[in-house]
């Protein structure tokens, strides 16, 4: 059912330069019979060089790469001040909503996208109910810290964080277990059901999860400035964004290591052909559960941050559309690789927020109302022009090239 993609099993190593050139050539040769002779032997030089910025980046020695990454990270931390850049600054900054708040929103969307990318992109498990894990993380924090909570434990935010992440991880396992036998699209509907069950429970248990009344008074992350006032206050969202960014970097490092290890290779095998993987000795059950658990933990982390920033949350946040949006973001950005997930997650939060507060010249309604319509069109256009996503994983890009060659004439 699945086409062989890369000819050798290869760890998804992002930056091995010679491999880049080799793998663009080799699949063309091993594909026998179906394609014309024009794809033999070597791909033209220009095409290889043009094989993305990533190729060039990968060819640099590691100190140079480290410097680039460092510069990039520093720039990311400086994003709250981008409004001061002349000319393009004011065009980038959101108008209808406070820019640091918009950045913080982007940061937890990116976190969610990274988590979903592990489930959908790496392990190939279609999860339509990812917001459920976000909710679990946020609600655990609320239950443990809010004075409105039935537990009345009133912990500090920081104390609640590890508990929330563990609970989210467990919920991922609980979701994973009944779904192991299910094939792709059935899995989708079950995960969707799971998220809906969580939402409905949130809505309908007035004493436990408090529905629309929600939880108020959720404490913020700790820390005081020199003058005694809290770093994580109510008015300025910038410290929250920096916290989010730091968590994102940690999560990236963690997932990257996983991906390069046996776990990542097993995920790749499961994604490509689960039955073949099982036959080859990959413990699919174990690694699918790993995928769910890690994805859930990252999602829970996002929920934890969200609760700490908002101070108040209720059940109206955790709608199904949220899951679907994050999925669209991941695939649009490029599923299967983290840069793509980050870009996708950032875009799905940024575009609607950017459109807020702008009046459309035609009907003089707030352009914000058109945000989902525009968004839908953007998604369609991107998927048609670039179904592998904006920043495709190299494996996907090759896979698509091969699939395109195999397409029977319509």
């Amino acid at each position: 059912m699945t086409e062989p993609t890369a000819s050798e099993p290869r760890a998804t190593e992002e930056a091995t330069a010679p491999a880049t050139e080799a793998t663009t050539v080799v699949p063309a040769q091993t594909r026998s019979g179906m394609t014309a002779a024009s794809s033999l032997p070597a791909v033209p030089e220009a095409e290889v060089k043009r094989a993305t910025v990533r190729g060039w980046f990968g060819r640099q020695p590691w100190p140079v790469r480290a410097v680039f990454v460092l510069i990039f990270v520093v720039l990311a931390y400086l994003l709250p001040y981008i409004g001061n850049v002349p000319v393009i600054g004011p065009q980038i900054v959101t108008q209808g909503i406070d820019w640091p708040s918009a950045l913080f929103d982007m940061s937890y969307f990116v976190l969610l996208a990274l988590g979903l990318n592990v489930v959908v992109g790496f392990a190939g498990l279609l999860d339509l109910g990812y917001v459920g894990f976000f909710a679990v993380g946020a609600y655990t924090v609320a239950l443990l810290t809010s004075p409105d909570s039935v537990f009345n434990t009133k912990l500090a935010w920081l104390a609640a964080v590890p508990v929330a992440i563990v609970v989210a991880l467990l919920s991922g396992l609980i979701l994973g277990w009944p779904t192991l036998r299910l094939r792709g699209d059935y899995l989708a509907i079950v995960t969707l059901g799971f998220a809906e069950i969580i939402r409905i429970t949130a809505d309908s248990t007035p004493n436990f999860l408090r529905g629309d009344r929600g939880f108020g008074g959720i404490p913020h992350p700790p820390g005081n400035k020199a003058d005694g006032s809290a770093i994580f206050g109510v008015r300025d969202a910038t410290p929250y964004f920096w916290l989010g960014l730091s968590i994102i970097i940690l999560v990236i490092l963690a997932i990257r290591n996983l991906d390069r290890s046996r776990v990542g290779r097993s995920w790749l095998a499961i994604r490509e052909d689960e039955e073949a993987a099982e036959i080859m000795g990959v413990r699919t059950v174990k690694f699918k559960l790993w995928a769910f658990a890690i994805g859930a933990a990252v999602g829970g982390f996002g929920g934890v941050m969200f609760a700490g920033e908002q101070g108040f949350m209720n059940s109206s946040t955790f709608q199904l559309q949220f899951s679907i949006l994050v999925l669209a973001g991941v695939v649009m950005g490029g599923s299967g690789n983290m840069a793509g997930a980050i870009l996708g997650g950032a875009l799905i939060s940024y575009i609607p927020d950017r459109l807020r507060g702008i009046s459309d010249p035609l009907t003089h309604t707030d352009l914000f109302q058109w945000r989902f319509a525009l968004f839908g069109v953007v998604i369609i256009v991107i998927m048609i022009l670039r179904p592998q996503g904006i920043i495709p994983s190299r494996r996907r890009a090759m896979e698509l090239k091969d699939r395109a060659k195999e397409a029977a004439p319509q």
């Binding site: 094939r183 059935y186 059901g193 989902f372 369609i380 319509q410």
Partner: protein, 316 residues
């Protein structure tokens, strides 16, 4: 937990469930057909339904009917119903074809992976529902009272109205007709062939592109009919009325065995009744959760749904 309430109201809840389920079943047909042939979850199908509801309402509005108009005479009712059905069918079918042409065909041409189709479907769904939302200012639109509900059968505390009978009979009839079409006509054979193996079917002379368009069209037609039934029953529509119903319909399709036409009917009816029973016992706020729990339990024991997948497997 109100079991006595359920017991007391078993009759009314069952009838209500069947009527609700019939609409869901018609809606689910679109999902199951497209999935059976293309292995694609057509997220945009909920918007196909929604534009059908608006098409019927605006057509009736064109004739001067709005929700405050008096009920017309019997001849008038039949006439308006047919006009409304025609409008909804045409618009829904056209929308389904449009989505197929604009969103899916380019992807099929490149043999894109299934996930890309899903995301494009999501994009199409968002685009259509939001646009309708902006133009209707996200307001509700009322339905003219074409059918004055009248009790036809009265057994104990169970009341069956003319509208409920109409809906159930229509759904059963359409399902029967569709079943015969798929199993006993040339075009139907083409659909089953493409569902089994698209490339072999093409080699055997089936016009794959036309079959796929036909499948979308049929799904759209069914959705249009479901749309008219829906507005008559609920009395209102809104730009997002497709979404929740779409989730229920998709659940019903999976419950019955996705790709299986009879499964869609069974799944829809079972889901409708189950949701109402759950409402009776636990309260209406839990009805969707109950439906999902039932689905998960059934999938755990019957991983391919109640009747199993079948469009692709040659079933005479």
């Amino acid at each position: 937990m109100n079991f006595s309430g359920l017991f007391h109201n078993l009759g009314p809840l069952t009838i209500t469930g069947l009527a609700q389920g019939a609409i869901i079943a018609l809606f689910a047909l679109g999902y199951t057909l497209v999935y059976g042939v293309l292995r694609l979850i057509n997220f945009a199908h909920s918007e196909v339904f929604m534009v059908g509801t608006f098409a019927a309402l605006y057509t009736w509005g064109f004739f001067g009917l709005d929700q405050n108009s008096p009920t017309p005479s019997l001849g008038g009712v039949i006439g308006y119903m047919l006009i409304g059905l025609a409008a909804a069918i045409v618009v829904s079918g056209a929308t389904a074809l449009l989505v197929e042409f604009v969103a899916y065909r380019p992807l099929r041409r490149r043999n894109a992976p299934p996930l890309a189709f899903l995301i494009t479907a999501i994009g199409a769904s968002l685009a259509i529902s939001s646009t309708v939302g902006v133009f209707t200012h996200q307001n509700i639109k009322g339905v003219p009272p074409l059918i004055r509900p009248a009790t036809v059968v009265h057994i104990g505390n169970t009341v069956i109205t003319n509208l409920q009978i109409l809906i159930i009979v229509l759904a059963l009839g359409l399902m029967y007709g569709l079943d015969r079409f798929v199993n006993h006509t040339r075009l139907g054979r083409g659909i089953r062939a493409v569902a089994q193996n698209p490339d072999s079917a093409a080699l055997m002379g089936v016009n794959k592109g036309r079959v796929i368009s036909l499948v979308f069209l049929i799904g759209g037609l069914m959705a249009g009919i479901a749309a008219v039934m829906y507005v008559l029953k609920i009395g209102d529509t809104k730009f997002d009325s497709g979404f929740n119903l779409g989730i229920e319909a998709f659940t019903a399709a999976v419950l019955g065995g996705i790709g299986n036409l009879r499964g869609a009917l069974l799944g829809g009816l079972v889901l409708g009744v189950a949701e109402n029973y759950v409402s009776g016992v636990f309260g209406t706020q839990w009805h969707t959760a109950g439906a999902f729990v039932i689905l998960i339990v059934i999938l755990m024991f019957l991983p391919t749904g109640l009747l199993g997948e079948s469009l692709g497997r040659a079933r005479a």
